[in-house]
């Protein structure tokens, strides 16, 4: 068997950052507290910005610095802040509650099985995109395959966790995955477009926030388990 040649330091570093983002997503699969999931999301978004900076430095795309800063400001600071506020005081009847309500026990699978299922999803993502041989101007194709795996694992996260908070985090992680793919394939996209996509996120957050609040007000829990039964 022939050895797989090394793709070079820059591409290797980009791939490592992408792989770390994927690993963080697997961390979200098993994390029991909404607070920790938000922390993981912050770390993942931070890595995305780091990757943007790496690509900007290597490929001389100065716009990407702006995008990295915007993305960091929005996803590492604003979105987690909004999420924490939304989860922090879910009901007026419990004003003394400081901590976000737990999302523990919302696993549809045990954490080990969830990881195994995630590995299968990641394999599908890798298999589909690794074979496409898309060569973006900015980042290596391995990062693109990792982004595809991240999309599928984010879907998996939304499926195996039965609480609205984890599902919102899963959706945000999905958005991170798409941003990663966009960075890889279309790093040269006009800044105004990228920024517009970024601010779509705020809309999503508001919608999710309303859904979480509405669900919590109706069901008095974050769990979606009782939504499976139809009510007339």
């Amino acid at each position: 068997m022939a050895a797989v040649p090394a793709p070079g330091v820059y591409q290797g570093a980009a791939n490592v950052i992408a792989a770390a983002m994927l690993l963080i997503e697997f961390g979200m699969l098993r994390q029991a507290l909404a607070r920790d999931q938000i922390r993981l999301y912050m770390a993942q978004s931070g890595l995305l910005s780091v990757l943007a900076v790496v690509i900007a430095a290597d490929r001389h795309l100065p716009e990407l610095y702006v995008l990295a800063a915007l993305s960091a400001g929005l996803k590492v600071v604003v979105v987690p802040l909004v999420l924490r506020r939304l989860l922090g005081r879910p009901g007026a009847e419990r004003p003394d509650e400081e901590e976000p309500p737990g999302v523990a026990g919302s696993h549809a699978l045990t954490p080990a099985s969830a990881v195994l299922a995630g590995i299968v999803l990641a394999a599908i993502g890798f298999f589909c995109f690794g074979g496409l041989k898309i060569r973006g101007p900015a980042a290596p194709q391995t990062a693109l395959a990792i982004a595809a795996a991240m999309v599928l694992v984010a879907f998996g996260l939304m499926i195996v966790r039965r609480d609205v908070a984890s599902q919102a985090i899963g959706f945000l992680a999905l958005e991170n995955a798409i941003s990663l793919a966009a960075l890889v394939v279309a790093a040269g996209l006009p800044l105004i477009l990228e920024t517009a996509f970024l601010f779509d996120l705020l809309v999503a957050i508001v919608v999710f926030g309303m859904l979480i609040r509405a669900h919590h007000a109706r069901a008095e829990s974050l769990s979606t388990a009782d939504l499976t039964r139809l009510q007339g």
Binding site: M1, N15, L116, T142, A145, A149
Partner: protein, 320 residues
């Protein structure tokens, strides 16, 4: 002016370095761990003193145990002393016996040693020793896939499964160091090493609580020189695994490229420094995490499996 060391002597030195330094590395880890906890800790030569004391003591065997009970520690140590012949301990060039076995060969020797110890524990009829060997076998069965995937990664990186080849590949360029497959495989191997050496989060190696014991419980019925051999074997295994992690995966630098005496001496010093560095990392982990409940160990192992499998994916499907 350099004195050339004959090749057979270097080969012998590989085994001797590991054999003699292993208790010392354990001593350093115990010391660092104690300092991190604000204790003074045992002296660094404490493991040597322990071994010396045990070798002077009387050996007893439980009634009904066969010859295998006493042979097992000797076989295990023989296995552990064979592995340093196969891996790059001191030299970056392969020594004549280095191609006797590949990574799988080394893995078989480790597994054989663990198997004979577990079988000897079964011979005793003691419930705790049996519990320990049963658990050790169960958990090594679930870590085995991780090791296999790490080996696959090595095979994809180098086209062979020889430890010397991987070390040479990692040394060859910076691109080989930062590629995700290499880092993921090294991280997975590190998690396996935490498991294999009985460290937190899998097992408390200093605890006396039998319920949490996995590997530690296996040697309960051995005494005197045989117990000393088992203890020494555990320390040898630890240093061997640290050497594999440092000299094959993470930092294959500082190895002797020639036969000169100076280079070999530097290589010995570098090996010890690297082993102590890995040991310090292990000690920090020991102090920062809690032991996992027995049934949560699968989660830890599934994390290691994830790293190893992703390593293979990025290479085989992702092309990176």
């Amino acid at each position: 002016m350099s004195v050339a060391v004959p090749i057979p002597v270097i080969q012998l030195l590989q085994v001797l370095t590991v054999a003699l330094a292993a208790p010392g590395v354990s001593g350093v880890i115990a010391k660092v761990e104690a300092r991190l906890q604000g204790r003074r800790g045992p002296r660094i030569r404490q493991p040597y003193d322990d071994l010396a004391k045990l070798f002077r003591k009387e050996a007893l065997a439980p009634e009904g145990a066969s010859w295998f009970f006493l042979a097992a520690p000797i076989i295990a140590v023989a296995c552990y002393l064979t592995i340093p012949l196969l891996i790059p301990v001191l030299t970056s060039y392969p020594l004549p016996l280095g191609y006797m076995g590949d990574i799988l060969g080394g893995g078989f020797l480790l597994a054989l040693a663990s198997f004979v110890i577990a079988t000897a524990a079964l011979e005793t009829g003691s419930p705790y020793a049996q519990l320990g060997s049963s658990r050790a076998k169960t958990f090594s069965a679930i870590t085995e896939p991780v090791v296999l995937f790490v080996v696959f990664t090595v095979a994809l990186l180098t086209g062979t499964d020889l430890p010397y080849a991987l070390a040479a590949t990692v040394r060859s360029s910076a691109g080989q160091v930062v590629r995700p497959a290499h880092l993921l495989a090294a991280a997975a191997l590190f998690m396996v090493i935490l498991h294999e050496t009985g460290r937190i989060p899998v097992e408390t190696h200093t605890g006396t609580n039998e319920f949490g014991m996995i590997e530690e419980a296996r040697s309960f019925e051995h005494s005197g020189p045989y117990f000393a051999l088992l203890k020494w074997g555990g320390e040898l295994k630890q240093l061997i695994l640290f050497t594999i992690l440092a000299d094959v995966f993470l930092a294959p630098w500082g190895l002797a490229a020639t036969q000169s005496l100076g280079a070999v001496a530097v290589a010995i010093a570098a090996l010890l420094a690297k082993a102590v560095a890995v040991g310090c990392a292990v000690a920090v982990i020991d102090n920062s995490f809690a032991k996992l409940r027995l049934f949560k160990i699968t989660e830890f192992v599934s994390g290691a499996l994830l790293l190893a499998v992703l390593g293979v994916f990025t290479l085989y499907l992702g092309g990176g």
